[in-house]
Every structure is written in C-alpha cells, then in structure tokens.
C-alpha cells in the first residue's frame, strides 16, 4: 500500500503508531485559486521508481497506485501464483483517472484540437486491475467496483465472498485513488464537503473532509491454504455487509449505515459485544459523523460505550475509493499491534458525537475484532469485519 503516510505498509503502520498525519499544503499544477489548500498527497512519489517510462505513460496515477499496492501484497504474502485461473483481482475506485481527464480536457479546451489516444485506457476504472492481471498473468475474474467512498470495501467484500464460496483460491482486492487535479478538486469544493484547514472527525468544530490519495491491496486467501503454506496472516475477514439508504444522494441516513453494520455481524455470525474497535467512516463532515455515531449506538446499544472508535482519515486523508483499503490496513494494524489508531485534529466534544474516539493519541488495547465502515455518496454502505487470527 502507499499513502501520504509513506510508500509501503511499514511506514503506514509506523505513522499510525506514532499518531502522525500526512496532511499538508496542496502541491500540483493549476492549484491556484482553490479554496481548499490542504490535502494528504504522495509528495515523494516518482513513477520512474516503479515503472518503465512506457508503462508510466500508459497508466494514470490512480492505476499506478493500485499496481504498486498489488505488487507489495503479493511480495509480502510470499504468494506464488500456481493456478492463475483461480486468482481474482477486484479494484475499487471512485474517480478513476481524473488527472488524465483533467490534463486532456485542459489541452482540448485550450490550444489543442484533440485529446491523447491513451485517455480512455488511462481513465477507465479497471485500468489498475487490468495492468496487474497482465503483469502477474492472472486469468481469473478481474474487475473494478465503483461506489464512491465505499468502493474499496465493496471490492474487498466481493473478493472475500468469492474466496469463501470457493470460486477462487485467492484474490487481490482493494482500491486506489488519485484525486489531486484541478477539475476534480473544484468539483469537491462545489459540493461543499471539504474542510479548508484540515479534517477534524467527530470534533464539534468539524467542517468537512481532507482528501487523500494512494492505494491499498490485500491478498485474501482461504484459511486452510494460507495455513498450509505457512503464510504470514494479518487477520481473518469474518464478515461483510452492505446496504443502500434509498434516501438521498449526499445526506446519509443512520438506518442505512446501521443496516450494513448489522449485515456484517450477521455474515460473521457474531454478536455486537464481540467487536472491540471500529475504524469509522469518520469523514469529518457535519453530516457523517453525527449520523455514524447514531448508527453505532443503534447497532451496539450499551456496548457502544466500550468500543474504541477512530477515524484514520484524520491521518491519511479521505482517499475516496481507496478509503476502505487504507482503512482495512489500519484495522489490521489495530489488531496486530494491539493499538487503536488515533483520531487526529479533534478539538472539542460534540454532544452529537459521544463515543470514545481515541482522540488523545494512539491507545494500547486488547483488540480481537475490528469493524471498518464506509458510507458513500449515493447512500451505499459497505462494512467489513476482521478478527485477529
């Protein structure tokens, strides 16, 4: 995985353990005049460190991030592809190749008469999945899932179910996003969901989100196979739940979020009191955080007061379609390290948000089960449950 917290999982975990964030002043072409001036960007990223020039020319940054994360997952897992038709790749992304579109439309509406022929293959949301499949020789089911900010969780959930059902032996799943280009940032500004300073999840003075970028991929494998080959196992995915608010495009409904959390618990045959930690959707928008708190209370009842809840978007930014993948990694950090990551940027309690948000720094705790929430624009909710193995 790669994010504003660093180029691999190691740096990501290290930053979470130290309570550091990757949010800073926005850098990039044509950024002047934006109201929002901060973001969680990959400042040291160089495509040439990962791709030949010709490959880099053919891949938008969002697809590059997916491929790099996929390579790391395969390597970290020591996974050797023996039956390529029994391996799946599922990639989540909200916006696909936005930087490519931005650049080409800038040309088109400026001096140039036409756009580059790579525009479509670079933009398409399955670009990362396709490249990774070619590179690894994976011939099983490969596809992209796009459900705005829930994309990665939907991707991971689909992959989890495919492995559990025995449709494939293993799956590389997660998501990636590269939102830092003028047009896309302006679109986010226009929807008035951004905090001009930095996101402050669950804090009374919160004003919106801070965008992030990056990619995360998990290698999912049936337990028996993973144990059989002596693989390093971070955790077991035990449940996945989805729901749709069927209500409003941008105004979330607590009932929808609660339904997805309940569905995940049901999928895992697990009771609410078995959950120890929730990696919240926690965008820092006025609407989400109160809504999510109400939904957690509805699902967990009195156990909600014993839960540790944090939003790691406050560290790696809201990476939209990659959010679920980064936050899955944060949830695995929590389980493996026995430490709930902190909610950064928190300034003052909000009566609407009355859970334990771990806002005074990362906290050591005995954590066995973690829930990871994502709730998307369009009212599409996807929740994963992880258990320490």
């Amino acid at each position: 995985m790669l994010s504003a917290l660093g180029p691999t999982r190691r740096e990501f975990w290290q930053a979470l353990g130290e309570g550091r964030d990757g949010i800073g002043q926005l850098v990039g072409p044509r950024m002047e005049g934006l109201r929002v001036q901060t973001g969680a960007q990959l400042l040291d990223y160089q495509p040439g460190d990962h791709f030949e020039q010709r490959q880099a020319d053919n891949l938008d940054p969002f697809a590059q991030y997916f491929v790099i994360a996929g390579r790391e997952a395969v390597q970290d897992a020591g996974f050797i592809i023996e039956s390529p038709e029994r391996v799946a790749i599922v990639a989540g992304s909200a916006g696909g190749g936005q930087p490519t579109l931005d650049e080409q439309y800038h040309r088109l509406y400026g001096q140039a008469r036409k756009v580059h022929p790579f525009t479509i293959p670079k933009f398409m949301l399955n670009a990362g999945a396709s490249f990774l499949a070619q590179e690894l020789g994976v011939t099983g089911p490969s596809f992209a899932v796009s459900t705005a900010c829930s994309s990665s969780n939907h991707a991971l959930g689909q992959a989890f179910w495919m492995v559990r059902q025995g449709l494939v032996d293993a799956a590389l799943a997660g998501g990636s996003e590269a939102p830092f280009c003028n047009g896309y940032l302006r679109a986010w500004e226009a929807i008035r969901a951004m905090d001009p300073v930095r996101c402050r999840p669950f804090s009374r003075d919160r004003q919106g989100m801070t965008l992030g970028e990056g990619g995360g991929v998990l290698l999912l494998e049936a337990e028996s196979r993973a144990l059989g080959r002596g693989a390093k196992i971070y955790a077991e995915i035990v449940g996945f739940g989805m729901s749709s608010d069927a209500h409003d495009l941008t105004r979330p409904l607590p009932e929808g979020a609660a339904a997805a959390m309940r569905a995940a618990l049901q999928d895992a045959s697990m009771a609410p009191h078995e959950v120890d930690y929730i990696n919240a959707h926690g965008t820092g928008t006025p609407a989400n955080d109160g809504n999510e708190t109400r939904a957690i209370r509805a699902v967990f009842g009195s156990h909600a007061d014993r839960l540790l809840v944090s939003s790691t978007k406050s560290a790696h930014g809201h990476a939209l379609g990659a959010a679920g993948a980064l936050e899955a990694a944060a949830s695995l950090f929590a389980l493996q390290e026995g430490m709930a990551p902190a909610t950064l940027g928190y300034n003052e309690p909000d009566p609407e948000c009355d859970l334990d948000y771990v806002h005074q720094g990362p906290r050591k705790a005995r954590l066995r089960v973690a829930m990871s929430n994502t709730f998307a624009f369009g009212g599409l909710n996807a929740v994963l449950l992880f258990r320490r193995n």
Partner: protein, 86 residues
C-alpha cells in the same frame, strides 16, 4: 519541437522511421517497411500513440477507417504521403 513539413516522400519516410525507431528504441535500419506493426513489437495502444504523434507533427488528420487498415510502415507512409500530396 515541430519539424518542417517534408518536401518529398523520401523525407517523409525518413521522418516516420525516425519516429518509430525512437519509440521502439532501435536503429532505423532495423525497421523493415513491409513488416506488420505487431511483428515490430507494437501493442495496440502504441499504434494509436504513433498516429497521434504523427498527425500532430505533420498537421494532418487520418480518417478512422483508414487508420484502422494501416498495418505496415509502408502503408502508413503511403497514407501520409497522400494526405500531404507528396
């Protein structure tokens, strides 16, 4: 930097070969005129990229149906020569 418009078919052919040579990272002499782009090591997107760059450089526009039928370097040079009336 945009090169001057080729004055004759020989110059055009040289220019096209230079483009392809740079793209494939091999000497011009190793690019046979009558071999298919595929056998030269072009992937599908490379051909689009080549046409895009040549159209830009030579200030011509090759119709889609013609572009799809181009298979060899010679065919491409013929097509461009016709567009440029060389």
């Amino acid at each position: 930097m945009t090169k001057p418009r080729p004055a004759n078919r020989g110059q055009l052919q040289r220019q096209v070969l230079e483009f392809i040579a740079a793209k494939l990272n091999r000497p011009i002499e190793d690019i046979p005129l009558d071999k298919s782009f595929e056998s030269l090591g072009f992937e599908s997107m490379d051909a689009f990229d080549l046409l895009f760059a040549l159209e830009d450089e030579l200030k011509v526009s090759i119709p889609d149906d013609v572009a799809r039928s181009l298979d060899t370097v010679r065919g491409l040079v013929d097509c461009l020569a016709q567009e440029l009336r060389l």
